[in-house]
């Protein structure tokens, strides 16, 4: 055994720690480059966050909010649907409410049916909410017992809004509150086509 430091000895752990760290960085960077070149996988504007886009909407039968019966979503086929999940305790829902009712008024007679589905809330609270902020004209308000519709549509939280074409295919989704103009191009295209 000797004690005088030699080149290889001096390099020791320090060398390996630094090389290891740098190596990890290089691998990570290369990995990012590689993943981004994967065709069609990277588009910051439209992350692939609408898993159901292009899929047929689930066929569910949901009770009306006023308790006067049920509506099967399949029966609404033939019309373009705007399906909005909302709740009384949800602050952004208040912000978008006027926007939605205005849109419903504007597109209601052009073959677009607006549907509000109550997201995990009590009938009393949601009725109070609508009394305060206004019921949409020709708007369908549905309950969602057991959160079946929530899961079928893949809802993360409220508010979320889906656009379904006349064939019952989900074509668009908005996360968060609708802002003026968000939906118009989509609806215009569907109504025209």
């Amino acid at each position: 055994m000797t004690d005088q430091p030699t080149e290889t000895r001096r390099r020791g752990v320090g060398f390996w720690v630094i090389v290891g760290g740098a190596g990890l960085l290089v691998i990570a960077t290369a990995w990012v480059m590689f993943l981004r070149t994967d065709p069609g996988s990277y588009d910051p504007r439209e992350p692939r966050n609408i898993p159901l886009a292009g899929e047929q909407m689930a066929d569910l039968e949901l009770p009306l909010l006023d308790g006067s019966g049920t509506v099967a979503l399949a029966d609404l086929r033939g019309e373009v649907l705007v399906i909005n999940f909302f709740a009384s305790y949800c602050i952004p829902c208040r912000a978008e409410h006027a926007e939605l009712t205005a849109l419903s008024d504007a597109y209601g007679d052009r073959g677009v049916q607006f549907v509000g589905i109550v997201y995990q809330d009590t009938t009393a609270a949601i009725t109070g909410f609508l009394d305060q902020y206004g019921w949409g004209d020709g708007y369908l308000y549905l309950q969602d017992p057991g959160s079946r519709a929530v899961v079928e549509f893949g809802v993360y939280g409220v508010p979320e809004t889906y656009v379904v074409d006349a064939d019952g295919v989900i074509v668009h989704k908005e996360y968060g509150a609708i802002v003026a103009g968000d939906l118009m191009p989509v609806l215009d295209e569907l109504v025209a086509g």
């Binding site: 000797t2 005088q4 030699t6 290889t8 000895r9 390996w16 290891g20 691998i27 990995w31 993943l35 994967d38 692939r48 966050n49 898993p51 159901l52 899929e55 995990q120 057991g146 959160s147 079946r148 929530v150 899961v151 079928e152 549509f153 893949g154 809802v155 993360y156 939280g157």
Partner: protein, 132 residues
């Protein structure tokens, strides 16, 4: 020699015990795996922070657990059930990532670290032994 006999006996007993334990590993009753709960651990609760649906008390998670239970009852396979949720919520809903290009590093990194670390210790040790 009694000492020798004692030793042999000790070995026989040890091997016998090892045999019983080995049998125990093979013959042990597999723990009762509840498929619903097992699946519930593999699906992320969409409204929570990194919780599985089996863990979360949120309404959405409860609803998803109910759906899992119904589907298990109806005889669907694990893959079918996982696919049902993946279709609706995307790959992020799986807590048990698939082995694919995107997750290659995730699955290989631990093995690479183990092999790399062991190699490092081994070579450094060898080099230290050589006279400098």
């Amino acid at each position: 020699m009694p000492e020798r006999i004692r030793r042999i006996l000790a070995w026989v007993v040890t091997l016998g015990l090892a045999g019983v334990v080995g049998w125990g590993f093979v013959a042990g009753e597999p723990s009762e795996t509840d498929r619903v709960l097992a699946l519930g651990e593999r699906i992320k609760c969409p409204v929570c922070q990194g919780e599985a649906i089996v863990e979360s008390p949120s309404e959405t998670a409860e609803a998803m657990m109910d759906i899992v239970a119904e589907k298990v009852e109806a005889g669907e396979t694990d893959d079918q059930i996982l696919d049902f949720f993946t279709e609706r919520y995307g790959d992020g809903i799986r807590l048990d990532p698939r082995f694919e290009v995107r997750t290659l590093l995730l699955w290989l990194a631990p093995a690479a670290a183990l092999v790399g670390g062991a190699y490092l210790i081994w070579t450094r040790q060898r080099r230290a032994k050589e006279p400098a």
